[in-house]
Symmetry: C2
Subunit: 335 residues, 2 copies
């Protein structure tokens, strides 16, 4: 800091002092989770963060070990009326159709191209895998990255008409920032495709590509006209869901998180792994309870089912966020 | 900064001014690579780092994209007379032998237990894989972590009698720190086992577990007496070598490095991938040329062979470090 900067700082300080001690104290203690009502979930988050980050606290955790993992679909952004990555894949089928005249007679593509999504998805998981594999492979890693960026910049959510990157939960953005401000390293650990998330997570969540863990297809290093490329193959590499989540955490991060955030049974093992660690820990479920501002679903939902997880949360004393009651605002675009 | 700190800063500045401009300039420009002779390799590193980290430079790269990847064996620490992880595995065979009476009649274990390493390894890669898989699986992730920590704290290198964590190259430690001081994020990308490195890379290299990419076995999430564990299975998950290195980089990091450091043909594809990127980049090979202070080997060596890589370096104008000529000191324990 130069002398000039010191003088400026003194000037600012004197203004602050003129504004009185109360204003100063308020500046220090500003609410970092303003979209959260002051209820149990917010209190348990803040109590945990303060206890692990305060030097001298019996629960103090060194910054390097403050690992927090977040599910993405239904935890950081929406997942209704269906996973956004599946909506992306459906759009890709349409975009790729001119190069695939054979799809006119081949399910699930034929139904999709006729606009009958329900019939296309009637084939269940094999049909979905067929759609995802077909639309996510056959190009280089960089070509796919650009396809995702283009879609994210233009595609709109069918209900809200908003960009998908606007369909993120404002309280969770605040939580991510709050954790990082307290020395946490924040990771995504999602069943979604790792390469579908990485092009935009840094801008939207402040989470860089190397802190994204997800499902993946195999890639192969090849020379194309003398230039190295990574070709995306139509083969599953890793499914980062359910018991795969602690495995993905182990392979990518190599440390056990001390805080984990999810919203479905797909996150159960991640939360179990986190909350059976030896030190202090926080496990939190986001419970979708707001049919008006967002969606309400849990034990019976085919997307984001939260059934065993609700029982485990009750048994384990985990924090459960009641979206309707606990969040003042869900999306930033709300008035 | 408080007024008091400002005053202290002014005082320090005035002392610095009294010491004269020359001393001040020296403090600013202190050599951050003191174990490197002032030759071409050092100059090319410094030129690159300055050009990408200087705002306004045509080669400026934002900090988030300053990814540097380092091979480990033979690049950050030694790899002779054989890979240290193999020496670890051989020690584990001896430690585990009492629980495995059947090994007396089963190769490669029988030869190993008689002290005949050469005969044991005569079976080539299958024998080595058998030894590694047997010694690296069958326990939880946390049990294995402790086994590695215990070995690292006690085992000694057969030639130098030093701990393996002392067998690291001082010039490379300086390079890691220099890159980080200039906003780079440093990663290990090694053919070695990811879980063999993670327990000590933070302390020794300043590289945290989540920035280590390596070969791995499969792990499985299981409940053991009601407690979740990750069990290590005797199955290969990923081999992070040769064409696997750019793949491992893609899966773990999700960005192309702008600088890559290796020492063998196993690093060739990582360097090709790095140095075919669109922006500025640096590719560097450490060439083992010092039979006196370390080892001298390249095109004919079975460990750390550097043959195609030397040709590629000449063709591509990559930087090659001549260890004997370029490094003032190799190990910190040298006088």
């Amino acid at each position: 800091m130069t002398n000039l900067a010191c003088a400026a700082k003194r000037y600012l300080l004197s203004i602050l002092l003129l504004l009185g001690g109360a204003a100063f104290a308020n500046a220090q203690g500003a609410d970092q989770l303003p979209s959260w009502n002051d209820v149990q979930s917010k209190q348990s988050i803040m109590r945990f963060v303060e206890s692990v980050s305060k030097e001298g606290s019996p629960d103090f955790v060194p910054p390097a070990e403050r690992i927090a993992t977040f599910d993405n679909d239904g935890c950081l952004w929406g997942e209704q009326p269906m996973y956004f990555q599946l909506l992306f894949a459906l759009d890709r089928v349409k975009a790729m159709a001119p190069q695939h005249p054979e799809w006119k007679d081949k399910e699930p593509f034929a139904s999709l191209l006729k606009g009958d999504v329900k019939a296309a998805l009637a084939g269940g998981e094999p049909a979905i895998m067929d759609i995802v594999m077909t639309t996510h492979s056959g190009m280089t890693s960089e070509e796919f990255d650009q396809i995702v960026r283009d879609w994210m910049a233009t595609a709109k959510h069918p209900k809200t008409g908003r960009l998908y990157t606007e369909m993120v939960y404002q309280p969770m953005l605040e939580l991510l920032a709050y954790l990082r401000a307290n020395g946490f390293k924040t990771f995504i650990v999602s069943g979604g495709g790792i390469d579908f998330m990485r092009p935009w997570t840094e801008k939207v969540y402040g989470i860089p590509p190397e802190q994204v863990v997800g499902s993946s297809g195999k890639v192969s290093f090849e020379m194309r006209d003398g230039t190295p490329v990574l070709m995306r193959l139509p083969e599953v590499n890793f499914i980062d869901d359910k018991a795969g989540k602690p495995v993905g955490i182990h392979q990518h991060i190599g440390r056990r998180p001390i805080a984990a955030f999810g919203n479905s049974d797909g996150d159960l093992q991640m939360l179990q792994w986190t909350c059976s660690g030896p030190g202090p820990h926080l496990c939190l479920y986001v419970h979708h309870t707001d049919a008006e501002r967002e969606w309400a679903y849990d034990r019976q939902s085919s997307i984001g089912r939260l059934d065993k997880g609700l029982d485990a949360a009750a048994d384990g004393g985990w924090t459960v966020v009641d979206m309707k009651a606990d969040w003042k605002q869900i999306f930033a675009f709300e008035k």
